[in-house]
Amino acid sequence: MFNLFERRLAPLDSPSVVVTSTLGSILLALAIGAFLFIPFGANPLLAYVSLFESSLGSLRGFAMTLNRAAPLILVALGTCVAWRAGFGFLGFEGCMTIGAAAAAWFALVGVGEAGQGIILPALLFWPAMLAVAFAAGGVWAGSVGVLRTRYGGNEVLISLMMNYVAIFLVQYLVSGPMRAAGNLPQTDRFPTESWLPMIIPGTRAHAGILIAVGAAFLVWLLISRMRVGFELIVTGLSPLAARYSGIDVGRRYLLAAVGAGGLGALAGLVEVLGTQHRLMDGLSGGLGFIGIVVALLAKLNPLLIVPVAILYAALSVGADALQRSAGVPSSIIFILQSLIVLFVMASDFIRYWKPRLPRFGAATAREERTDA
C-alpha cells in the first residue's frame, strides 16, 4: 500500500472534490448493491425507481419519510453538538427512551383526564412539553458529562452503558407504575390533545418534522453564530488550545452533554407523541445509533443533516414498500445503506492520499522513444 499511495501535502478539500467523491461513492454503493437484487429476479434499476417512488414520489409516502426522518434529524443534531465539542457521546438510545418517558408522563398528567381538556392552555402546553422532555434528556446525559469532567470517566463507555439503564428503567415504568390496565406492558393511550398535530392534510405527516427543522436551525445558530458555540468547536478541535485561550473546557463538555441529551430526548418525544401515542417497551428501535450515522454522513453539519436524514429515511420507507410489493427482503436496503456509509467514509482516503503510478508511465514513454 505504501508503494501505491503517497500522502498528499494537503488534503483536497475544495467543495467540488467533496461533492464528486461523495456522489461517486453513493453511485458505487448503488451499483454494487444492484447485484443483490439479481437472485430475486428483480431488475435492479426498476427496483431503485420503485424504491424512491414509494418514499418520495407520492405525498403519502413522503409524509411517512418525513415522520421517519424527524427523530433521525434530532439524534443527528445531538451528535453534532456533542461530537463537535469533542464529547464522544453514544447514549442517544437512552436519551430517546428517557425523553419518551418524560413526554408520556407529561401527556398523561398535563392533559388531565382523557378528553377533559388540557390543564395548561395550548399556548403553554407545547413549550412546557418540549421543555420537560429536553430537561429530562439533558439531566440524563448531563450526568455523563459530570462523570467525565469531575472524575475523568470515559464518556463513550458510560453513555453506552447508560442506554441499558434507561431501557430497563422504562421497562420497569411500563410494567409497574405507569402500566395501564390490560395484558400488555404499556401505558394508557395519551389524550388526543397531546398528539403531535398533523401538518399535511390526508397524510400522517405530523409536526415532528417541524420540531426537527426548528432544532436544526437553532443548532446551526449555536454552532456558527454564537460565542458559546464557537467555544464548543474550539474545545472539540483542540482542548489544549481551548484551555489556553481561557475557555472552561469542563463546562463546555457539560454543556455539550446537556444539549445532546436534550435533543436526543426530543427525538423520543417525537416518536412517542407522533407515532405511537403510548409509551411501551423498545420504542427507540436503534434510531439512537442510526442518527449518529446520519450525522457522520452529513459531516456533523447541522444544515446538511436535514436532507441526509430525509434521504436515509426515504431508503428505509422504500425498503418496507419494496418488501410488501415485490417480496424483496428489506435487508437488502440495509446492506445498501451500510455500503453507502462505508463508501462515503472511505472516500476521504482519496482526498488525503494520491495514487502513485509514475514509474509505469515513465517506463512506457521511454520505450516509445526507443521504438521511434
Partner: protein, 520 residues
C-alpha cells in the same frame, strides 16, 4: 572524486506547490555537507526524495555515479542511506538493542543459526563494539525512556551504523541539545566523515554550519541557489543567500527603563504530568519595561513553570502575585484579566487551532470583546476588521483572513499569535520558545516585535532554549536546571560558556562572573 550521492534536477510537485524546482545536490565521500534553508524552502522534501519516502516528478538520483530508484525507505536503507529525523523514531519502552535491530531482516545475522530466534545478545555485542569504536557511549540494555535526549540521538546514529549506512542524513540534529552535547555530536560527525562516510545536515542554524561543514548547499523557494565551500564564505553571506536579502543577527537594544514590579513568585513548586516535582521552589520577579530571560535545556521545568504562571497547571506550593494581588489560584481567563498574555511554545497544538481561519484564531484569546450586546452572538464584522488589522500590522503573509491558520508557515503563524497577544495590550507578556523552528527572517521580525513591547513599558518573561536569543534580548538572564535556578546573570556578563555550564547543572557560583541569586 566521484560523488557518493548526487541529486540532479529533482522536481517534486504537490497539488499546487512546487516543493522542489530542479534542485541539485552532490555530496562527496568523507564530506560533511550542510543543506541550509528557511522553513518551507524544500530541504525536507529533497531529503525525503533521497530517502525514498517521496517519488520525484523529475530528475535523477545517482549513487557512486550510477542512477538508482528507490521504491520506498527500505530500498534506500538497503543502498546505504540512513536518516535521523528531528523527532526521534525510537520505541520508548524498548531497550537500545531492541530499537537498533527493529525492522532488520535476516541478512545482518540478528537471528541465531537455524533456530530463528532473535539474537539480542549478539546484537548487543555488536552495538558495544560500534559504540566504543565511534566513541558513542551507550548501554545496549538501557531503556530508551530512561536516557537523556543526547544519548537517544547516539542510539539513532548507532542504528544507522549498524545498518552500515554510508550516507547519513540528519534533520535539525541540534535542536534539543545543550551546547556541550552539540559540540560532542559535531565531533562525532567529523570522525564518521573521516572514515569516508558522507554526512548531510539539514539545518537553519548558521553557526553550527561554520563549525562543522565542509561545504554548504543553500536552498530557497525549492531551488538550490548555491553550493559554497566553508572557507569561502561567512555567516552573513550564508544568511543573505538563504533569505535573499541582508539580515541583522544582532539586535540593537535601547537602554532599559525599568518600571514597577509586575509578576513575582515565591517558593513556587509545580508537578509534571506524572506527579514528579518539576519546579522546585522558584523565586522570580518581572518588572515593567524589562525582558527577563529563562535559559535552559528543554525539559528542565520551564514548561511547567510557565503553565503554572498562566493558570494552566495547578501549583503544589508557593505563591504567585501580579501587581501585588495573589493570583495563585485564579483561572487562565482570570489571569488574562489581570493583564497577563501568553505565547505558548507549541504554536500549532496550543497557540492556535489549525483548521480554523485566521479570523477565528485572531479572536481566540479575547472572545468576549468580539460579541454583540449581551455577549451571546459573535460580532463577525468586528472580528473580521480586527483580523485584517492584525495581518496588516504584523505582516502575516496569507491569501486572506479566511485562510486556515494551520496552513500558515511557522513564521507567519507565530507572527499571528504574537500579534494577537500584543494587540490585547497586556502588562506582562510571557513568551515560550518564540522562534523555535523559524528561519532567520522570521526570527528577526519576532525579536523586533518583542523589543517594541519592552520599550513601550510592558514586561516580558522570555523562556528559550536558544542562547543566542536569550543573550540578544534579555536584560536579566536566569538559568534553569532540574526545576531550580542555577543563578542570575546580567546580559553584559553572560557568555555562551558560562550559560552552557549552568544549563548543564554546574552552579553559577563557581564562575566569578556570575551574581548568584540570593533568597530573601
Amino acid at each position: 572524486m566521484l560523488p557518493a550521492v548526487e541529486l540532479r534536477g529533482i522536481v517534486k510537485r504537490f497539488a499546487n506547490v512546487l516543493a522542489n524546482d530542479h534542485a541539485s545536490l552532490s555530496v562527496l565521500p568523507g564530506e560533511v555537507h550542510a543543506l541550509l534553508g528557511e522553513n518551507g524552502a524544500g530541504k525536507s522534501t529533497l531529503m525525503q526524495v533521497l530517502y525514498g519516502s517521496y517519488h520525484a516528478d523529475g530528475g535523477e538520483i545517482l549513487l557512486d555515479g550510477s542512477p538508482v530508484h528507490f521504491a520506498n525507505q527500505r530500498a534506500a536503507i538497503h543502498a546505504g542511506i540512513g536518516m535521523i529525523h528531528q523527532d526521534f523514531m525510537l520505541v520508548r519502552p524498548f531497550t537500545v538493542a531492541e530499537n537498533v535491530v527493529l525492522g532488520l531482516d535476516g541478512e545482518l545475522q540478528i537471528y541465531q543459526e537455524k533456530r530463528g530466534v532473535l539474537d539480542l545478545a549478539g546484537a548487543s555485542r555488536r552495538i558495544e563494539e560500534l559504540s566504543t569504536h565511534h566513541g558513542l557511549q551507550v548501554d545496549a540494555s538501557a531503556r530508551i525512556e530512561h536516557l537523556p535526549v543526547g544519548v537517544q540521538q547516539r542510539v539513532e546514529i548507532l542504528k544507522l551504523l549498524y545498518r552500515n549506512a554510508r550516507i547519513l542524513i540528519l534533520d535539525e540534529p541540534t535542536a534539543v541539545l545543550t551546547p556541550q552535547e552539540t559540540a560532542k555530536l559535531l565531533e562525532t560527525l567529523r570522525s564518521l566523515a573521516a572514515e569516508g562516510r558522507s554526512i548531510i545536515i539539514v539545518t537553519h542554524k548558521l553557526h553550527e554550519i561554520i563549525e562543522v561543514a565542509d561545504r554548504v548547499t543553500i536552498m530557497r523557494d525549492g531551488k538550490t541557489v548555491a553550493t559554497v565551500a566553508k572557507e569561502d564564505t561567512t555567516e552573513a553571506e550564508l544568511a543573505r543567500l538563504m533569505v535573499g536579502r541582508d539580515v541583522l543577527l544582532r539586535v540593537r537594544k535601547s537602554p532599559m527603563k525599568r518600571g514597577e514590579t509586575l509578576l513575582t513568585t515565591r517558593g513556587l513548586t509545580v508537578n509534571d504530568d506524572r506527579g514528579n516535582e518539576a519546579v522546585r521552589g522558584i523565586d522570580l520577579s518581572v518588572n515593567a519595561g524589562e525582558i527577563v530571560g529563562i535559559a535552559g535545556v528543554d525539559g528542565n521545568g520551564q514548561s511547567q513553570l510557565v503553565e503554572a504562571l498562566t493558570g494552566l497547571r495547578p501549583v503544589t506550593g508557593g505563591q504567585i502575585t501580579m501587581e501585588g494581588t495573589d493570583i495563585t489560584g485564579s483561572t487562565p481567563s482570570g489571569r488574562k484579566d489581570c493583564g497577563i498574555a501568553y505565547v505558548p511554545a507549541d504554536r500549532r497544538g496550543v497557540g492556535s487551532v489549525g483548521t480554523l481561519s485566521i479570523e477565528d484564531n485572531s479572536v481566540l484569546c479575547n472572545l468576549r470583546a468580539f460579541t454583540g450586546k449581551f455577549g451571546l452572538f459573535r460580532d463577525r464584522g468586528r472580528s473580521r476588521s480586527h483580523a485584517r488589522d492584525l495581518v496588516a500590522r504584523f505582516g502575516v503573509k496569507a491569501p486572506d483572513i479566511r485562510f486556515p491558520a494551520g496552513k500558515l508557515s511557522g513564521g507567519n503563524l507565530q507572527k499571528m499569535i504574537l500579534g494577537r497577544e500584543i494587540m490585547q495590550h497586556p502588562k506582562l507578556l510571557i513568551v515560550e520558545q518564540p522562534t523555535r523552528g523559524l528561519d532567520v527572517g522570521a526570527i528577526e521580525g519576532v525579536w523586533a516585535e518583542l523589543l517594541k513591547v519592552r520599550d513601550s513599558g510592558q514586561g516580558i518573561l522570555l523562556v528559550s532554549a536558544e542562547l543566542e536569543e536569550i543573550r540578544n534580548l534579555a536584560d536579566r538572564i536566569l538559568v534553569i536546571f532540574e526545576g531550580r535556578f542555577m543563578g542570575e546573570l546580567r546580559a553584559e556578563d553572560a557568555d555562551d560558556e558560562t550559560i552552557g555550564l549552568m544549563m548543564a547543572g554546574r552552579s553559577g557560583k563557581t564562575s566569578g562572573k556570575t551574581r548568584t541569586l540570593t533568597h530573601v
